[in-house]
């Protein structure tokens, strides 16, 4: 299978350097404190945020976390990732609870924790639920899907958190970029990056290889911070830097888009509600 066709187009019709089309919508879940749908190309993800609210003891839903994890001076962030049964071409039997979704939950949680100002909401918890409604291509294996959904999930979660009015250092955005090693190879390594655009920090860096899928830790860039980087593939440094740069650019583009959406939403809320301030002035 080839990633780029002889005409220079990818499977979904994009050019090699082209980013997927973005679409975001805020306020899609009525009962949630904040919610959003985020689409990157054909990948569609819905996120709902509940909280900050009083800590509840739910051991079953979030397997590991319970009271013992309670931290007294900051909020606890929880995340649950799942894929809808109908999200892939063939119906999934087990939408959540497998190793992959546990891992992605953890990744999203760590990324979000890095940007939420948790110390402002002591003794409370924030629940983030992310569900993949639709993944990109139906004929590609699940592993291939992970990079795109991962970034879409993070972007959706960011939007939902901002909608819930939870104070954050910055908006986290994520994007992935791949590299084709040889003309005839079946897909090269693939890097998912999450950044805080304003602070110019990297909070997430994951690398996968579709073919070898070896677990090999390598390469820590000096300016990277915060979190362990998961390196599942070998990649020469210079190529890595290229790919990384591409992904970072993508992140910034997404950040711009997300901010536009948020600003539009805020203005909408405001013009329907701003009366508060100016009527009180006239009385």
């Amino acid at each position: 299978m080839e990633y780029v066709s002889p005409e220079g187009l990818r499977l979904d019709g994009r050019r090699p350097m082209e980013m997927r089309q973005l679409r975001a919508e805020i306020g899609t879940v009525a009962k949630a404190n904040g919610s959003a749908v985020f689409e990157m190309g054909n990948t569609k993800v819905i996120a709902a945020v509940y909280g900050p609210r009083e800590m509840i003891n739910v051991v079953n839903v979030f397997q590991v976390q319970n009271r013992s994890q309670q931290i007294n001076d900051q909020a606890l962030v929880r995340c649950e990732y799942s894929m809808a049964n109908f999200s892939t071409g063939d119906r999934m039997r087990k939408p959540k609870g497998d190793r992959r979704s546990t891992e992605i939950s953890l990744v999203i949680r760590q990324t979000m924790e890095a940007c939420i100002l948790t110390h402002l909401m002591p003794r409370s918890q924030i629940d983030i639920f992310v569900q993949v409604l639709q993944v990109m291509e139906r004929n590609i294996s699940i592993l291939n899907v992970s990079a795109g959904t991962r970034s879409a999930c993070i972007n959706a979660a960011t939007l939902a958190l901002a909608d819930a009015g939870i104070p954050m250092r910055d908006i986290v955005t994520s994007c992935s970029a791949g590299f084709e090693l040889h003309e005839d190879s079946a897909g090269g390594p693939d890097v998912t990056v999450g950044i805080l655009p304003k602070l110019d920090k990297v909070t997430l860096l994951q690398q996968f290889n579709l073919t070898t899928h070896s677990s090999f830790y390598e390469l820590l860039l000096a300016y990277l911070v915060h979190f362990p980087f998961i390196m599942d593939a070998k990649l020469p440094v210079d190529i890595f830097e290229n790919v990384m740069g591409l992904a970072t650019e993508g992140c910034k583009a997404i950040a711009n888009y997300i901010r536009e959406v948020l600003l539009e939403n805020t203005k909408q809320l405001e013009y329907r509600g701003v009366c508060n301030s100016y009527v009180s002035g006239s009385i």
């Binding site: 901002a162 009015g165 939403n265 405001e270 508060n276 009527v279």
Partner: protein, 371 residues
């Protein structure tokens, strides 16, 4: 879906759009580009920026810049700069009137969900019991502690009593003690001490899922929130509906309890966005009266329906009008009755458009008056 998804006819859509545009243009005049999103830099006056400017809620300092941490509207009060988050959970202030739902009955306290990041605590000791006031003789002492909320005791000056006592010789002291015991027995009204029995009967006052109205008393040093319900107007709310809107829509005002006389309805606008619409209750403190009332009131279920369903409409109003105000609600209810719209249609599109138009008109009038 949070936004309204109503099936609108073409004309309705155009009318709604026009009304909304009008609203938008009005608010744009009021404050232009004050809205920020997460990580936007807030422009401050650089001369006095970091010496004098106070960083308020929703802001943080990043490399010498003032940066927003939430989406909202920048507000400036003298030197304080803060971001008023629009859609967020409720931020309590002492003295706010809130409506909450009981989630847990535990020892000596109820835990109430009030849309804050923690549950609020209502202590058994910080609320008036139905039979809470009692004449007490056992606590009689020579000094009488003055209290403002007790009418009877205010008439007697505690200083007078003190002076009397001091001028009396030792021989009579025992007699005076006896007298004052009697005296205190007559005049000292204290709220009853909470006994273990009261604790056992807590579920008789509020149970889980009861809707309760209370006032915010204070913050404990650990950040938890205490409520109080020391007056007759607070307490359990029955026979009505609870509407939940975003807290930023409820403006703080002097009056949060409203009695809509023409409908016989009590309206409580909780600052946390919980709005109670219920039957008017005369005396909340004594159970006996309450029961008598309720049997009387339940005689007219028809009328109750008539009045309650229109108020369900409020959510629609909030979406558009946003300024929740007793006058506004009244106006809308009037509107609904003048156009003779069916109760079921009130949540429909036509009325929605009508309300939007009315609101746009109202605000433009208000703007003119201001100028």
């Amino acid at each position: 879906m949070r936004g309204l998804r109503l099936p609108l006819r073409q004309t309705q859509r155009i009318r709604l759009q026009r009304a909304l545009e009008k609203l938008q243009s009005l608010s744009c005049k009021a404050n232009s580009d004050a809205s920020v999103t997460v990580a936007d830099t807030i422009p401050v006056n650089y001369e006095d920026a970091f010496l004098n400017c106070l960083r308020g809620h929703g802001t943080t300092d990043l490399n010498g810049d003032l940066v927003a941490t939430v989406c909202g509207v920048v507000e400036r009060i003298n030197k304080l700069v803060y971001v008023r988050a629009l859609r967020a959970r409720y931020k309590p202030e002492v003295g706010d009137i809130v409506v909450g739902r009981v989630v847990e009955v535990s020892q000596k306290r109820w835990r109430l969900e009030i849309n804050f990041s923690l549950d609020a605590i209502l202590m058994l000791s910080s609320m008036n019991m139905p039979d809470g006031i009692q004449w007490e003789a056992t606590r009689a002492e020579f000094t009488i502690i003055p209290s403002a909320d007790n009418g009877i005791r205010r008439n007697f000056s505690p200083f007078l009593v003190k002076r009397d006592l001091s001028s009396i010789g030792k021989r009579f002291l025992s007699l005076v003690a006896l007298l004052s015991l009697l005296f205190n027995y007559l005049i000292v009204r204290v709220s009853r001490r909470r006994t273990a029995l009261d604790e056992l009967n807590m579920r008789g006052i509020f149970e889980e899922n009861d809707v309760v109205c209370a006032e915010i008393r204070n913050f404990q040093h650990d950040g938890s929130l205490q409520l109080q319900a020391r007056s007759q107007k607070y307490g359990k709310l029955e026979k009505g509906q609870l509407l939940i809107v975003d807290p930023y829509l409820v403006k703080k005002s002097k009056q949060h309890f409203h009695r809509l006389e023409q409908f016989g309805i009590d309206l409580i606008l909780g600052r946390n966005g919980f709005i109670w619409v219920g039957e008017h209750v005369e005396a909340r403190d004594s159970m006996v009266v309450d029961q008598a009332n309720s049997s009387e009131q339940s005689m007219v279920p028809e009328e109750k329906n008539q009045t309650h369903t229109p108020l369900e409409m409020r959510q629609n109003i909030c979406r558009i009008a946003m300024l929740i105000d007793a006058d506004l609600i009244l106006e809308t209810v009037e509107l609904s009755s003048t156009v003779k719209i069916d109760i079921h249609d009130m949540l429909g599109s036509e009325f929605h458009v009508l309300v939007a138009e009315r609101e746009a008109e109202r605000r433009s009038l208000m703007g003119k008056r201001k100028r």
